[in-house]
Symmetry: C2
Subunit: 345 residues, 2 copies
């Protein structure tokens, strides 16, 4: 982190953004033209005479996602002075992979709210979300293929496989109070970090980055992805609905074994174990249980230690950026990471 | 067809197989080593420490599918004397795309029986089938990427998109008694013929076929795919459970607007229209309704004309093969088509 700050000063960049939303807005400003092109590419790819497809895809695209993943691709490419246009297709592909997994996740989790809006499965139905998700996923592959780089195709198709594997693993850990720290980190590495890594890596590859820098971008994405997910997990117990764009306590109600729960269960006193078994393993919850869970987590530092773990991953992400070229885009990538921690500060 | 038969005689090929199962067995014999390699490739790709993945994938792979689609890829490549090994990966990819769509289709349709075995959604659950389907789909893309041919990637990623679009279109026609012949053919072209076409096309491309022959293989696959689906549709009203590997009447009970129903509704007398509205549009059926539907279809030649339509597509498929090289593999591809019609003879 100190190395990053020094770099920022040397290149006379503006001071770091104060919080995550601001960092996202700044990066969006740096990438404004690229992001417009990405949106146009996504909408063009989701055109279809079968009305349900543009309807659901449009809902997904317009639902106010922060576009973190495609920005990683765009910023990574720009950090290496890429001046072609394949990064647009790849960024669009990355966002579509993400969108397809959201459509399927919401069906699998039975979620009704995402980014503050009703989910597609609630508006159109589960069947529709599954099949349109498949279409969106195929569209992502068509875009990658159109970008025409076999190494990028390798990286992103592998990322897709890892994401799906992580989702299945998560399903098997759900309601399982024995889930360990290591297993949970495996889930996060797969379901979140793999696409962050693939997104940044794809940008570096398409820009012709040298192996060491290319791998640094991949690892930056990976570590940032883990940090980002852990912060999200902590916010489910410590945040506000508005902040999160979903309902606080959603993970709890679904019996998800996220890191705060893993810590809380491991540190629970003998007489508290039945509480966790009932609310997580058996899924029998009353209205007061969420508050009780937060109380126990606070006493045992489960949320604070989740945040501390996120901080460690964030530091690793920043260290990787020391191997990337100096400049405004690298600074913006660093700023995303440092400010993401402020969400639970 | 006469041209095909003449070719068979000139090259001293064995006489055409008497029926479809026999034609499949013969082609399987010609491709035995290749098919073993395809199976090994599929199983390797579906390995995962997340047990549910090899469990569900193994169930899918071992459930006795006929392997028509991968055989199209293999036979098309061999017809052009291909002697590399990329056709193995591509054939495996084609079978995995098919497998992924089956997993998702069975969730969407709520099916409980496929190829005479219980479906994955019944054994493991809907969530599991959706997520493992995504994993299988990603695996298909990884295999295609490993084959390393961008044109094949274009063809097969487009096919995947078209399949998903067709599935969504089919969902919107379900229970809609106004569905026309043209719309229904659009559904079949997308959900079935696109992968048959892509499978044969991919084999021809990887083997370096000239443009005219390459496109002939694509169109052969396309026309055969439509014929194959129409025969399947007819069998749902005229077949036996054992033949079909699923339950006779399944399409009817799900309110699917297949071609026999499209014809039957169009030809129904005024006083019979409420019957079709009730059983298809409203989905209110009694045990006697399926028999009544078959009676009306028989009177109005709805099943016979579906078979006739299949025959027309089969002839087009055979005509395309006149542009392919003479030889045992081309003969076997022709034989698949001619004998497929025998299923409803």
């Amino acid at each position: 982190m100190p190395a990053r700050l020094a770099t920022s000063l040397e290149t006379a960049a503006p001071p770091p953004a104060p919080d995550f939303s601001e960092a996202v807005v700044r990066l969006r400003g740096l990438l404004a033209d690229d992001l417009d092109a990405v949106n146009a590419e996504i909408l063009a790819r989701m055109e279809s005479p079968v009305r349900l497809i543009p309807d659901i895809a449009g809902h997904l695209v317009n639902a106010g996602g922060k576009r973190i993943r495609p920005m990683l691709t765009l910023a990574a490419a720009r950090a290496f002075d890429y001046d072609g246009d394949h990064h647009i297709k790849l960024a669009a592909a990355v966002e579509l992979i993400h969108g397809a997994t959201l459509l399927h996740d919401d069906v699998v989790d039975g979620s009704s709210l995402r980014r503050g809006a009703r989910t597609a499965n609630v508006i159109w139905g589960n069947k529709e979300s599954v099949l349109v998700g498949d279409y969106v996923f195929s569209g992502a592959f068509e875009l990658m293929v159109a970008a025409g780089d076999l190494r990028v195709l390798q990286v992103l198709s592998r990322a897709s496989g890892v994401i799906a594997e992580g989702e299945v693993l998560q399903l098997t850990t759900q309601k399982n109070v024995e889930t360990t720290f290591d297993t949970y980190i495996d889930v996060v590495e797969a379901k979140t970090a793999a696409l962050f890594a693939g997104a940044a890596h794809a940008g570096a590859i398409i820009a012709g980055a040298k192996p060491r820098a290319e791998q640094a971008l991949r690892d930056y994405g990976r570590y940032f992805g883990v940090a980002y997910q852990l912060i999200d997990d902590a916010l489910d117990y410590a945040g506000f609905d508005g902040d999160l764009g979903k309902n606080v306590g959603d993970d709890f109600r679904e019996g998800k074994m996220t890191l705060p729960v893993v810590y809380a269960v491991a540190r629970a006193r003998a007489e508290e174990k039945p509480f966790w078994r009932r609310v997580i393993a058996e899924g029998r919850q009353t209205d007061a249980d969420f508050e009780q869970a937060v109380t126990l987590m606070t006493r045992d530092n489960a949320i604070a230690d989740t945040a501390a773990c996120a901080r460690q991953y964030a530091e690793r992400a920043l260290n990787e950026l020391d191997k990337a070229p100096d400049g405004a885009f690298t600074d913006a990538l660093a700023n995303l990471v440092t400010t993401s921690l402020s969400r639970i500060a």
